[in-house]
Amino acid sequence: MRRAFQVLILQRGRNPGVKGWEMKRHLGRDYRKIVEVLSEDVAPMGLEVYEVKGADGTDDSSRFLLRFREPPTISEAETSGIRIDDLAVLAATIAFVNSKSGRVARREVEQFLREKFPRWRIDYSLDRYVKRGYLEQDDRGMVHIGWRTHAEVDEKTLMTLILSRAQEGAKK
């Protein structure tokens, strides 16, 4: 269990998380059972082991990550130095891309965001989120949801919150 925790917590390479084939190599063929137990063991610390399916859907391509079991409070998130504007850009982009069947031209995203954010912040934030894996941009200039958003963000909850908050905002 200790080994499984160490494998997951230490970052290897550029991206966080450990691929299924690496877990198999480090923990053996029954690594999924170990991961399940570990996920329960880290629960008192507010963590869980989360699996993000790879592009081909195989066990080997899945990525395993340690993440917060529950979202942080607003004040916790604010003290981590994240800018409200940056998060707002990401939230709006994820919602827009999902509403456009998961892929949308970058210029359309920029046009959409321009109604709410200054141009310099849009360029800066989009580039940063592409670099950090929250968004993906292919060679045709199409924006997709990145693996990191699938790993960290409960997209259904986000969409629901945006819709319900907007209704509250409209009522006020």
Binding site: I9, L66, F68, A77, S80, N98, K116, R140
Partner: protein, 234 residues
């Protein structure tokens, strides 16, 4: 289709495949068959997009884009970021300095080009101060080969001999006024002839006129420098 967010079902795949099928027997050359195969590949990509489109529409994540645009417009930035935080599960990880990372940093630092050299490829230098270009520089720059230079010198000397016939001729008229490059080239060659003692040069400071004359025999004397400006004007 692949570089826009248009509806992939706008393309009638069946119709396009039938067209390709009808045309296939007419295709004889490899190039035509390759283009045909490429068209087939593009159609298969659109079918893939249709599959993704259907999956997203069927999932609970699909919401009308116009509705989302309206909702996002209504929400203040703070509410948007709050919605994000409430659906966010940040990753837990430890960043550590590994021997491999240390090695990468060392190699980066070792191979880092000094800042004065770094951007020369993109932006060039800050300019080169004026300097002298001599005969060997011109040869190394490929402006002349040694043979061409000697031939050109002899030609120009003969031309000057022909024109001057023991008399002074106007320097500026002689170097000509067709193109600036040619004018500079003739002036450079003439300066060589004068330095070698195969031509003479005199100037009239009051009128600014400059005269030159070819010599049949090479003379030796004390060399004297004269600066003559040549402009691009005629």
């Amino acid at each position: 289709m692949e570089s826009s967010s248009a509806n992939p079902f706008d393309v009638d795949i069946r119709e396009k495949i039938l067209i390709l099928k009808q045309r296939l027997p007419e295709l004889k050359f490899l190039d035509e068959l390759l283009v045909d195969a490429e068209a087939m590949l593009e159609l298969s990509q659109i079918v893939k997009l249709q599959d993704e489109w259907l999956k997203t529409r069927a999932s609970s994540l699909y919401i009308d884009p116009l509705l989302i645009q309206l909702k996002v417009k209504l929400l203040p930035k703070e509410a948007l970021s709050e919605a994000f935080i409430r659906s966010w599960h940040p990753l837990a990880q430890v960043d550590q300095l590994s021997p491999r990372g240390l090695e990468k940093a060392f190699v980066y630092w070792r191979d880092l080009v000094p800042i004065s050299e770094r951007f020369k490829d993109q932006f060039g230098t800050y300019g080169v101060p004026p300097g002298q270009v001599d005969y060997s520089d011109l040869v190394s720059m490929g402006v002349f080969t040694p043979e061409q230079f000697e031939t050109s010198l002899t030609q120009l000397h003969n031309e000057l001999l022909e024109q001057s016939r023991g008399e002074w001729v106007d320097y500026r008229q002689f170097i000509g006024n067709d193109t600036f490059e040619n004018k500079v080239r003739r002036a450079y060659l003439l300066a060589f002839l004068i330095s070698e003692g195969r031509a003479l040069l005199k100037s009239e400071p009051l009128s600014g006129k400059i005269w030159t004359m070819a010599l049949a025999e090479r003379v030796k004397g004390l060399p004297k420098s004269v600066a003559i400006s040549i402009t691009g004007e005629g």
